[in-house]
């Protein structure tokens, strides 16, 4: 999450916004965001419907697995990677996506 916070100025450049989603409750996320000095929104998805809808919740597990997805302005998932975020890969993808958007 800190990595995303560091990259906010670059996401801004590429017309992207970042949201974090977790099964934790709002209060937990509030303190967690404060502890890490995060300024982007964290969504509390206790019922897990959002994570389940994008395959982030492994069968039989009570929490989401780590997953980064990029949704374009039409709502289409253009990028999905499990595990720790590869920030350089994400930035290069957003740059490409932004360039595509500029041409259309």
């Amino acid at each position: 999450m800190e990595g995303h916070q560091r990259n906010l100025y670059l996401y801004e450049r590429f017309n992207a916004r970042v949201l974090g989603v977790s099964r934790d409750d709002v209060l937990t996320l509030k303190y967690w965001a404060k502890g890490l000095d995060l300024s982007f929104p964290l969504l509390s998805n206790i019922t897990a419907f959002l994570g389940v809808s994008v395959g982030a919740q492994p069968d039989g597990q009570p929490i989401f697995g780590r997953l980064t997805i990029i949704v374009d302005r039409k709502g289409i998932i253009r990028y999905a990677r499990e595990g720790s975020p590869d920030f350089k890969d994400i930035l290069l993808f957003l740059k490409k996506l932004n360039q595509e958007g500029g041409k259309s």
Binding site: V21, R66, T68, R73, L97, G101
Partner: protein, 202 residues
């Protein structure tokens, strides 16, 4: 109008998180070369004066780039007498300014050791061709009977803050070897970027 539509071009969704840990991977080719002048060229990206040969190289295979590389030295004396220094492309914290970054950094630095740090000295320094901030701290663990002295130097690479640090662990009644901090200072002072960072080329 088009501009307003484009502001919501894309959205990065990050689902869940767990604490990330650096892991060692399979061996790969040596990422550095030595110059006749005794400098190290690291992946054609950095140049620096390495510590003496009895320091061991630390490489961390970490996709988030927590630590790019560092060096460690087993010091004489009982556990935990060891000194480690490192260059970090993305030190803890997020702020692009030194003062805020320092505050954020020390919330996480050596977090697992559960130490209370006391700032011993804080001063502006010149590092990697620009202004930087050097902070000396000491942390103590009276339960384990251990202490650590550290120096952290924040510098800038483009818009982003990079960090250098040295940590020297000792038993509570042990004596720090300040000459080792001179080796670290030479490492930091000699450090140069040989090309623009990934972030500067975006």
């Amino acid at each position: 109008m088009k501009k307003r539509i484009l502001t919501a071009l894309s959205l990065v969704l990050v689902l869940a998180w767990v604490s990330g840990c650096a892991t060692s991977g399979p061996s790969r080719p040596v990422p550095y070369k030595l110059t006749p002048q005794g400098m190290v060229i690291w992946e054609d990206e950095y140049e620096f004066l390495p510590p003496p040969p009895d320091w061991k190289l630390l490489r961390v295979e970490d996709p988030t780039g927590d630590i790019n590389f560092g060096f460690t030295h087993a010091d004489p004396g009982p556990f935990p007498s060891v000194t480690t220094m490192a260059y970090d492309e993305d030190p803890f914290g997020c702020s692009p300014g030194f003062e805020n970054r320092e505050r954020e950094f020390f919330k996480r630095f050596l977090f697992n050791a559960i130490l209370q740090f006391q700032i011993l000295e804080k001063k502006k320094v010149q590092v990697v061709g620009g202004e930087g901030l050097q902070v000396d701290v000491e942390g103590k663990d009276p339960v384990k009977g251990e202490k650590v002295r550290a120096r952290v130097v924040f510098g800038k690479r483009g818009d982003r803050i990079v960090g250098f640090y040295i940590t020297q662990w000792r038993p509570m009644d042990g004596v720090y070897d300040m000459l080792t901090f001179d080796i670290f200072d030479k490492f930091v002072k000699s450090f140069q970027f040989l090309k623009r960072s990934f972030y500067e080329t975006l």
